[in-house]
């Protein structure tokens, strides 16, 4: 229903709509349309908040990061290029990076005194257990289960744990090259399991 409503409203912008309904909203937002941005907010906020919260952990800081991320989406809206991916992927990338930058800048202060990379407790963020019981969740859980345990651990430590591949290597006491390979093989399998076109 939402799709249909979007489609009607976007009669003047049919091409963009057919590719990605959120693309229409984003191109309107890129022309300064705040009500389009509001709809975009509604469509994207739970997705982005889920990621940011996983990475940042602290709810108050997550909210700050969310606010920064949405302001950035607003500023950059005129430059969105749909040939580089869907709006959801673009927005999730931007929010994830904001979250990562937040935890890393916090950490760099602490690292100087603590040298804690080796000591940091391993937090596995077991997504397979935590995903919500919706269709997306089931699909993603099944796809994650197709990864080897080691691939899944490396991908999750990086994506949700906010660790660089070097830090993941330290945490797991495995060579950096091995971690790079696990991450890569894990993502390729996940991509294929989820049927993402390449």
């Amino acid at each position: 229903m939402r799709r249909n409503a979007l489609r009607r409203r976007a009669a003047d912008d049919r091409d963009a709509d057919q590719k990605d309904p959120l693309g229409t909203l984003l191109s309107r937002a890129g022309r300064g349309d705040q009500s389009a941005f509001e709809e975009l907010y509604d469509a994207l906020a739970p997705l982005l908040h889920g990621v940011v919260l996983k990475v940042v952990r602290d709810p108050a800081q997550s909210e700050e990061v969310m606010q920064e991320a949405f302001i950035e989406l607003w500023r950059l809206a005129p430059r969105y290029d749909d040939s580089r991916g869907s709006v959801r992927a673009w927005a999730a990338t931007l929010a994830h990076r904001r979250a990562i930058d937040r935890v890393r800048s916090e950490q760099s202060g602490r690292d100087r005194t603590e040298r804690e990379a080796q000591k940091r407790p391993i937090q596995t963020n077991d997504v397979a257990e935590q995903v919500v019981a919706n269709i997306d969740g089931t699909r993603v859980r099944k796809a994650l289960e197709r990864l080897t345990e080691m691939q899944r651990q490396a991908v999750e430590l990086a994506y949700f744990g906010g660790h660089s591949y070097r830090e993941v290597a330290l945490l797991l006491d495995v060579a950096e090259g091995t971690i790079k390979t696990r991450i890569r093989d894990g993502l390729i399998r996940l991509r294929d399991e989820l049927g993402v076109a390449t």
Binding site: Y41, G50, R79, A91, N134, R139, R184
Partner: protein, 242 residues
């Protein structure tokens, strides 16, 4: 980093599991590499699906704050295709530059908007490759910076707006002094934030690639304590409109 290695970074990059240096290097590479570009796009779609499975609505108060703030936030201009950018306009006259320099000096001196957005780490073994990629972009413009006083040496900044990257090249530069470094300031249209880069100019040279966001209107160089400052403490020694 060798040419084969950099392709291996696509997955780690899509996960944001690379350091700032590798991020800059990979970002200089992948837009021009069909394989990496497709991989990054595919991995990002994949991750957005993984993310969707963990969706949690934010507190409802957030929306009102976001909507209030966008009402006061200027959007960036769309990027113009390379063919529209006329190099001649950018080289036009000292007068415009002097005017902008004055504005920059005022901004920096009164300390508006020195806000740290990004910073690159030390030695850059991948410099040549990363720099080549940026210098090869069709929209790259090179601005030679003008010395504002009797400063020795020279700086150039090559900026590719489409890649959001700059290459900073300094030559024949004197040692900035003990505990000091050259700091680059990017002043943007709102004057509200600037990015800094610190370099000791070892071997009298600066060779750096870094990310910039937004649309800087000018570049300026000062000498600052090497740990960095958020507001310029000395006069601009080189500057140019972006």
């Amino acid at each position: 980093m060798s040419g084969t290695d950099i392709h291996q970074l696509a997955a780690a990059y899509a996960l944001d599991a690379v350091d700032y240096h590798e991020r800059a290097e990979f970002e200089a590479h992948y837009p021009t590499c069909a394989i990496c570009k497709a991989e990054v796009a595919g991995f990002r779609e994949t991750l957005s699906q993984v993310a969707a499975a963990t969706a949690v609505p934010p507190p409802s108060s957030l929306k009102a704050r976001v909507m209030a703030e966008i009402g006061e936030t200027r959007q960036l201009s769309p990027l113009l295709p390379a063919s529209v950018i006329d190099l001649a306009t950018h080289r036009q006259g000292r007068q415009r530059m002097v005017r902008m320099l004055t504005a920059a000096a005022v901004l920096v001196v009164i300390g508006i908007g020195a806000f740290v957005v990004g910073r690159q780490s030390g030695d850059d073994n991948g410099y040549a490759e990363a720099a080549d990629a940026i210098l090869g972009q069709p929209d790259t413009r090179i601005s030679p910076l003008e010395a504002t006083g009797a400063a020795e040496g020279r700086f150039q900044v090559a900026w590719s707006p489409s890649a959001n990257k700059i290459v900073v090249m300094g030559d024949d530069l004197p040692d900035p002094g003990p505990g000091k470094a050259y700091e680059l300031w990017l002043v943007d249209d709102a004057g509200s934030h600037a990015v800094r880069l610190l370099d000791k100019a070892d071997g009298r040279k600066v060779r750096r690639v870094l990310s910039v966001e937004g649309s800087p209107s000018q570049w300026a160089i000062t000498v600052e304590p090497e740990e960095g400052v958020e507001k310029a403490t000395t006069d601009i020694i080189f500057a140019a409109p972006a």
